[in-house]
Symmetry: C3
Subunit: 682 residues, 3 copies
């Protein structure tokens, strides 16, 4: 059914932007320019109505859709699809004033004033009712409008916490559903510690960071409550416009939402991507951005997604934001396509005249001109996308997965392990992802609940929390021939953040063939040496460095690949492998340098016969990503360095998808260059 | 009329300090020492009663002036003028307790407890009434007292914000006066953004940093409300003592007050100067201090001002505060005179025994002795000032002005431009001021409302906000032959912080002969190269560096003086000049190193025939400042380095004003030395 | 009487841990393991019931001691003493909910929610009553239980501030007792400053950091109020179990309690020591830890104390915490014995499964195994302690004392002196202590109220506050032949934080033979040179460096030992000595490098015939500490370096107390090695 709903949306590569038409109603000449420039830039989609509540319902129960009618008609007339937003992200001032209970309450019990946006309580029945009313109005009015392409529900939900009594009551109900009775809860949270046992539900307040189970559940609840709000939002949309797909724009993690749960309730994933180009090392930034694209593609098991927002130029909120160098806009926009997006969209179409985001980059700046570097860059993307329709049905296929798990991250954030400074969980996942990206090997970024059986290699860095059944699933994966890699600070607690007793959970201990005794924590100034053992499983040699974390482990059935070469534990195992069933389980006990990871995973991929997009070694900073249909492969060759790079395509015979010409055997990539090559699959 | 009021005050160079007589009423021997030591130190003025409310009105409506009577009489008997304060800066505890509404309310709606000082609400009618009562009492009682020289209204007003309902109501009234109706306000603040449209005045709360227009107006209002309070304070003073001048002591900027508006309502400017000598580079500290002196002189168009506070030794609040090196007290005290002060005054006369400021430097320390380095230094100033009476009527005359504008600073502080980190507006103004200071050229530091026509060169660094009429005034200034210099991040918004459309305001665009397309923001680690063009207007050559901000501009009628030499915009214009009417307009598109500014302004001054105080090049760190009457010039030659410096006076024949002897042709300046030279104007 | 109470406790060296039996009631197999492992580890004492209130009184007035009965019986059966806690440190949730007035109020007037621990108001009558009830129940129930060895009252009291009206009223009563009337208080706090005079007691709120006297008294009050709470806690214990000794576990300073006042009301000192081993320089960490041990020994004039808590491994709260290197556990545990402890105890016996401290190091980790490095290390300590019974009655005898004073620290923390950044009072005391530690000379760490007459040398670094009588006591000490050393930032204020007038208090000025005129404050980047004078009193020579503070002093009868060698005060005195009566008083005017202090105190000790534990120079990082009875000396030779060290014992003939064998003349110390040597006293 989902695919059916997406047919219209995915009939072309989408190109467009957030468009705040209603800010310019008194400037018809500006509005006329807009539609002219949209055509000029090859735009075919606009996100509208995102912050329009005050203009749509200027008074409680009094709606004014006249301007939106005109906008929808203009879009239709120009053959531009409307991604129509529900306006819940920003209530009007009159609503916050008339219904104070809709405003968030902070942890001190202070009702927040009306300000900014995303400032409301997810639980408030009044707020939900007001949102339901306006969403119903929108759906009823535009259900048959030819411009209506996709619902954009609210904007950038986040798990910001509200401490009002309604939220507390909802939390307690959530807990009753989870635990049934207080004894079970007291055990799960280990409340006998520090005399924290609860004897009545209403004693529970989510303010005690010392009770890790409580804080983890509160985090889960706030995510679930945001999702519950979303699910309430879409009721009238589903009812009135069953054929129109629905999305809500995600962001990078760190917004306290478990997007995996949201993903089940959207038709298509969309997200807002704002990397910090040209600020540090663009190769690292390119790799990180790839990681996030792959994560968003993985949320719905590889279904193409939308790049809902990106800046065509600078942001206004990064502290420092550089303009894009020549080529960089094309590279970074089409990078999204390479990783599975079927759109390139911007925030924003036109710069506002006033307020917070007025200097955020836009397709049309305050100059109101098409004669700008940015407008020309954008137009080039529009033209390119029109040449990439063949890619629309293709997908990215991965045999490697990195587990990056939200519940694990939340639990780990609270964890009082020997080194709490600089845990770097998300970054560590990226460090384990980077070697594959550099080799042009497709990687899915999954969570701990994802089915592992479709992968050859699964990597789980710092998987501190291993929920019910996960150790057994890992064991089954390895027994069936899978390769599992995990690291220090893994397998420590269960779903309630209770430590496992007697070492790892039994299935994990069997699979890894070892147990861990202690975690040493090095200071920022300290580092150690790690020595590869002769004749090891992966043919690695030489010495590397480690820092920050070093676990002291005891192999039982595992064998040693590398040993510590410094500290009192010199000679102790640092990397091990356990042959188990038909598979293998690797353990990396210390936080190593990136060189170790690069060599380790290169060797591992070779051992498992996993090849990159091209059969050649890529220069550092150049990657190749593949999308494929049953008959055709599309290789996106991307240079994230500011140097000219040469790539020998070897014997493959590719066509340049943008020019239609055959590609040379040796491709010359200019700084920040991208080349899209296609070849039939034999 | 003002000058008449100041006759008595300015009949001699003033020397004195803040004096807290009332702290020592039980130690008559200390009080006797005080008057003896005042005479010994050649003091002729004392600031009194600043924090005396609790001693003057120990109970609501019950006044006790007995001790103040004695103090005033003692001062008169010793021929020491009284700068009598109104005590509003620190209400007694009983007042805060009895009238809670006089205490400030913070942004969380919490009424602040009584503590510290400057802790009251500027709007509270009760507070205003209590202040009116005691000010009236003071004015009536001392109106004819021979010691009364000047009113010192309150102390160091600041724009600290109060969020009580009274202030909010006053703010809304202020807004009604400014905008008339909500539609106008909604447009000015661009509230359609993020659904922020107001439908009733009482929805407006100044807590939303995302609405720049709101926050800018709140800033204006808090400044205006402080001024309104001041104006209410002085009603009884003006009424009862019309001949006594009034001041209130200003501080360095950053206290959220627009002192230019205050300046219109004081008779004489006074300010409290606390540079951090000997902590970093004293040459830079000397330049900055000069900038602030010039700013204070400019507030009232060159009228001599008072150095109301300075420390004779260390402060107690700087974290680190060094004692002054030999010579430094004389140099830094007389520097104020050089820039237009007619006084050197200290905080404080005598160190308190207890509480916060007990270790702040003072003329008389806890040793209670005149046999101290500090007391000798102070006495030397007293003696010197007595020899400088001829300077009293002289003024500083500038043909160069730097615009440093408060409203611009407030708007810029909020501005979300591509680089929000380290905007450094005030410091940038100083960097553009420094080359003139080093050349001994007098500079006025003005605001954007100041009449420009009296200057030859006007420099407006980072003039982000250009209010109504300003572009036209700049255009007229240049057309009439003026030289205007501006930089990156200028001309971006109007009075409401709304971005200008289609590039700069038309008058500015015509004047500069260019428009700006993008602002690149470099990180702290990045910098670029800037190359001077051959045969440029200013005969500059070679290459310099730039950092942090680089604008990409398009000359229309302007010509290029320098080009970028690095980044993808190498070859693009970086500095331009536009010949317009009878004048010129320069544009510096990037934040350059100081060397560029030094060479640029040196060349510009030469081109415009603007000469320094002396006709010779001064060694780095040595400056010369000029005060002049119709017949006489006084050149203050100051060495801010810790090295011996030689200055060849050339053919000028000067008299040393302190010794009365002819000055040598070549002056030897010891470390931290100052020489005051006079010469008749032919 | 005290010694009688301690007989049972001190009949053996104590070894044990905090034990949370009640967390495992549903795991009898775990509990059985516990008692087996306790025996295996040679444990003979367990601290129990510390956080058990919710388990002991699950409902208001309904007690359940069944599990504690079983625990006490098990301990007795295993010949393990019970250190039984009163549970007041962590009230149950029902109590905080039912009696809101027991929860702390923060400075904003917000009643804190129930969370964490140590979260209650020390003043609340309700809380005191509930504590009294449960303490009475415990005392009555276990008064005759054979396991009961010692009361552990509450846990880690701290002077956390509560701003409720009950506390404010108690504070005002405390003030009335101290000052009698408001005039006296107003003078003591110098409230005429900033118009702060109080006219009614209820105007006083401890929120004004500008009134130093107020804040100092509030600090004293909060410490006194915690003590008052403690004294109320022990009433039922003293009444019902008069023969059972009482302790409460102290911590390092910085918890806002004056432990000297607590010490008068406990039978034995105990403390929780958590140094950061292996993070920076272990020699410095070893010295600091020694300082704190000596402080705790000094609280009760040398009576042996208990090391109530230490980690056998890592902590969970240090940000970074390293596992202990081989040898380090033995060294650092027995270091406590060396400095006067009669126990080595751990937090914690067994790691919790959940919540905040679950990864804090423990004797038994989540592995639940005795086959761990940590368990073996712990067992080794248990075995060693059994061989050290002869040491039990011995004590440490000091002829040198360093004054480290709490009231001085509190006053100094608030003091607005010329350099407020990095005052480093506590660290400075350690820098003056370190030279003795390195020489193996025993030092007492005393407060300013301690009797000085028993010492030969008393060192008072930065003794800013000199309370009533102290200058006279110092004078008497020196006149009687004592050697007194003090430094910059000393003798500045009296008990009310009022500055002394006319220089130091007269007795101090006479004793030092000088007065101070100014304090120069250097920035972090600046430092100066200090030159020793020829032929000085201590035979020191050469030059050293100074930084941060440099006082400019005027010797009256003192003579110069060192002079400044840089800054404008080159040549001014920097170190002086005054021969006074039969003694000497030294003044160190600047903050010098450690080398100066090392050489100065080595020379001083030699001059005063004070010898270290061994008659030889110890290698850097090796120290020797002595405990002695009438007949026997025990020398603890400790190597805090990671290098092998040789120490020549010279002609002394020692026995190795742990092996019973004669010690070699030259002892080889491995990295982190400790050797306990004994010899009869002839």
């Amino acid at each position: 059914m989902e695919n059916k709903r997406l047919e219209n949306l995915f009939q072309k590569m989408r190109h467009g932007a957030d468009y705040n038409y209603e800010q310019w109603l008194d400037s018809p000449e500006i509005l006329a320019d807009d539609f002219r420039l949209m055509k000029q830039s090859h735009s075919n989609v606009m996100s509208i109505g995102i912050f329009s509540w005050a203009m749509l319902e200027p008074e409680d129960g009094h709606y004014d859709f006249s301007w939106l009618d005109r906008l929808m008609d203009e879009l239709a007339a120009n053959d531009i699809g409307a991604i129509l937003a529900t306006p819940s992200a920003a209530p009007p001032a009159w609503l916050s004033q008339k219904y104070p209970e809709t405003r968030r309450m902070n942890v001190l019990g202070h009702r927040e004033p009306h300000k900014g946006r995303q400032n409301f309580c997810f639980t408030s029945p009044v707020y939900r009712e007001k949102v339901n009313q306006i969403n119903r109005q929108l759906a009823e009015r535009y259900q048959n409008h030819p411009a209506l392409l996709l619902w954009h529900v609210s904007n950038e939900y986040g798990g910001v916490q509200c401490h009002c009594e309604l939220c507390y009551e909802a939390f307690r109900t959530w807990l009753k559903n989870r635990y049934g009775d207080l004894n079970t809860l007291n055990h799960a949270w280990w409340t006998t510690f520090w005399s924290h046992r609860y004897t009545a539900w209403d004693q529970i307040e989510p303010v005690d960071v010392s009770t890790h189970g409580l804080m983890l559940d509160w985090q889960r609840f706030t995510s679930d409550q945001a999702l519950d709000f979303y699910k309430a939002e879409i009721v009238p949309l589903r009812q009135i416009t069953p054929a129109i797909p629905i999305t809500t724009n995600f962001m990078r993690p760190d917004v306290a939402l478990d997007y995996w749960r949201f993903a089940e309730h959207v038709d298509v994933i969309s997200w807002d991507s704002y990397p910090r180009w040209h600020q540090t090392d663009d190769v690292v930034t390119g790799m990180e951005t790839a990681f996030y694209h792959d994560l968003h593609r993985s949320y719905k098991q590889g279904l193409p997604f939308l790049l809902m927002e990106s800046t065509p130029s600078v942001t206004n909120w990064q502290g420092i934001s550089r303009v894009k160098k020549p080529g960089a806009h094309k590279l970074t926009s089409l990078q999204a396509i390479a990783h599975g997006s079927n759109s390139v969209q911007y925030f924003q179409w036109r710069q506002s005249r006033g307020a917070w985001e007025k200097f955020h980059g836009a397709v049309v700046s305050h100059l109101n001109s098409s004669d700008t570097r940015v407008f020309r860059d954008v137009t080039q993307i529009g033209e390119s996308l029109e040449k990439l329709s063949a890619i629309l049905p293709s997908t990215n296929k991965a045999s490697v997965a990195v587990i990056y798990d939200y519940e694990n991250e939340w639990a780990l954030n609270n964890a009082q392990i020997p080194r709490t400074l600089g845990k770097k969980y998300q970054i560590t996942c990226q460090h384990h992802y980077a070697p594959f990206w550099q080799q042009g090997i497709t990687v899915d970024v999954i969570n701990a609940r994802t089915d592992l059986s479709k992968y050859k290699i699964v990597i789980a860095p710092m998987l501190y929390l291993m929920g019910k059944g996960l150790p057994e699933r890992i064991e089954a994966f390895v027994q069936a021939g899978g390769v599992f890699v995990t690291t220090y600070v893994s397998g420590m607690v269960d779903d309630s953040d209770l430590a496992f007793l007697n070492g790892y959970p039994p299935a994990l201990r069997r699979t890894l063939g070892l147990y861990s005794e202690e975690i040493d924590a090095l200071t920022d100034e300290q580092q150690g040496v790690l020595e590869l053992c002769e004749g090891n499983d992966l043919n690695l040699a030489g010495s590397y460095s480690f820092h920050e974390y070093a676990e002291l482990i005891h192999p039982e059935t595992a064998t040693m690949i590398a040993a510590y070469g410094s500290e009192f534990y010199a000679g102790y195992p640092a990397i091990t492998v356990n042959n188990y069933g038909n598979g293998k389980a690797y353990y990396i006990a210390a936080r190593t340098d990136d060189e170790l990871l690069a060599d380790f995973y290169k060797s591992l991929a070779r051992a498992e016969n996993i090849n990159g997009a091209l059969s050649v070694d890529l220069p550092k900073g150049v990657t190749a990503q593949v999308r494929e249909t049953e008959n055709q492969r599309f290789v996106f060759l991307m240079n994230f360095t500011d140097q000219l790079q040469m790539v020998d395509l070897g014997e493959a015979h590719f066509t340049d998808q943008l020019t239609g010409s055959p590609a040379a055997d040796e491709v010359t990539l200019y700084p920040y260059d991208i080349r899209i090559l296609s070849a039939p699959i034999p």
